[in-house]
Amino acid sequence: MDRKVALAICFVFGVVMFIQYFSGSSLARQVNQSILEYWQIVFAFTLVVGIVGVVRTNVQRINKRDDVFFRIVTLAGIIIMPVVALIWGIKADTPFMWMFENIQAPMQATVFALLAFFVASASFRGFRARSVQATVLLVSASIILLSRSALGGILADEIPQFAEWMRNYPSMSARRAILIGIGLGSITTSLRVILGIERTWLGGRR
C-alpha cells in the first residue's frame, strides 16, 4: 500500500469526522455512528492480531526450548478460556465465569496490591526533603496518607478537612493546567496527523 494512499484516507476520514461534529443533520449523525462502529470492529480485529502475535511468539520460543514450561502454561490459558466459553457459554455460573472469578480476578487483584509494597519502598528511598519542592511533595503526600487513615482523625479533626481542601483547590488547579496542556497537545497532534505532517504511525522510513 502506497504511503500516499494511506495519508489520503487518513485525511478524508479525519476531515469527515471533524466536520460532522458541527452538523446537526441526521445524515451526519448516521455517518458518525457508522464510522465509530467501524472503528470498534477494526479495533477488535487489531486485538485479535495482537493475540495471534503473542501465540506465534510463544510457539517460536517453545521451539527454541526457551522457558518451555511457562510458555506452555501461557498458551494453555489462552486456549482453555475460549474452549470453555465455546462449550458452556459466558453467562453467569458457567465454567468460563468460574475461571474468571477464581483464577484471573484474584491474581489480578493481588498483582495490583503488590504494587503497594513497591510504591512504599520506592517512596521510602526517594522521599527526601532535599529542596523546598521536595518538601512540599513530602508534606502533601503525608497529609493525604494521614487523612485517609484513622490516625489523621485521631491527631486532629482539621487534617481530613485540610486534605480535602488541598485536593479540591491547589491540587485541582495543577491538574486542570495539565488537562489544558493535554487538550492543546492532542488538538495539535490530531491536526498534524490529519494534514500528513505527523507520519510516524505509517511505520518504516519517514
Partner: protein, 203 residues
C-alpha cells in the same frame, strides 16, 4: 471450602511469593495470569464486538455495509507477512484519521474550554472574598507558565513558573497519597480473603 476458594487462595499466595524474590512459583502464576487474561479478552472481544456488532447484523440482518469494516479488519492480518504488511496501513489510516477527527472538537470542549471555564470564578461572592478561587486561578496560570517552553524561565517569568512547580508538587503528592491508599485497600482485601475465606484464621 469449595475448590474455587482453594485455587484462588493458592494462586494469591503464589503471586505474593514475589515479595521474597522472583521464583518459579510466581512465574507459573504470572504465566497463567497472562494466558487466562488474553483468553478472556479474546472471548469478550469475539462475543461483544465481533459477534454483536459485525457477524450477527451482517449474516442475520443482511447489513452488507458491514463488509467494509470486515475487510478492513481482515487486512490487519496482512502484517504477518512482509510482502503484504503495507496493506495494514489502510485500516490503520481509517482508525488514526477518524480518531484524530473526533479528538479535535472533543479535546477542545472537554479538556480545554471546560477546564478554562471552571478556572475563572467570582473572587468575591456575597460580599466575602473567596481565597480558594484565587488559589485555583493562580495555580492554573503558574502551572501553565511552567509548561511554556518557548521562553527562557528567568526573571519575573522564572519566578512565576517556579510557583507553578509548588502547585505541581502538591498535585503529585496528593495523587501519590491516593494511589498508595487505593493499593493498600486492595491489599487489605486480599489479606481479608486469605485470612477469612481461605485459611479461616479470622471471622
Amino acid at each position: 471450602m469449595d475448590i474455587g476458594t482453594i485455587i484462588a487462595g493458592v494462586l494469591t499466595l503464589a503471586i505474593l511469593t514475589f515479595l521474597y524474590r522472583d521464583n518459579p512459583i510466581y512465574k507459573f502464576a504470572e504465566s497463567l495470569l497472562i494466558g487466562v487474561s488474553i483468553g478472556y479478552t479474546l472471548v469478550i472481544v469475539w462475543s461483544t464486538t465481533l459477534m454483536d456488532i459485525l457477524f450477527r447484523p451482517l449474516l442475520n440482518a443482511g447489513q452488507l455495509a458491514l463488509v467494509v469494516p470486515l475487510v478492513l479488519g481482515l487486512l490487519m492480518f496482512s502484517r504477518f507477512h512482509p510482502r503484504t504488511a503495507s496493506l495494514s496501513r489502510l485500516p490503520i489510516a481509517v482508525m488514526i484519521g477518524s480518531g484524530a477527527g473526533v479528538a479535535i472538537p472533543v479535546m477542545l470542549e472537554a479538556r480545554t474550554l471546560r477546564q478554562m471555564t471552571a478556572t475563572v470564578g467570582p473572587l468575591v461572592s456575597d460580599g466575602t472574598f473567596d481565597f480558594s478561587v484565587l488559589v485555583v486561578l493562580v495555580g492554573v496560570l503558574t502551572t501553565l507558565s511552567y509548561f511554556y517552553f518557548s521562553r527562557e524561565h528567568e526573571g519575573f517569568f522564572g519566578r512565576v513558573s517556579k510557583v507553578g512547580t509548588y502547585f505541581l508538587m502538591i498535585f503529585f503528592g496528593t495523587t501519590f497519597g491516593y494511589t498508595v491508599m487505593s493499593r493498600m485497600s486492595t491489599f487489605i482485601g486480599r489479606m481479608e480473603f486469605l485470612l477469612t475465606d481461605f485459611l479461616h484464621i479470622t471471622k
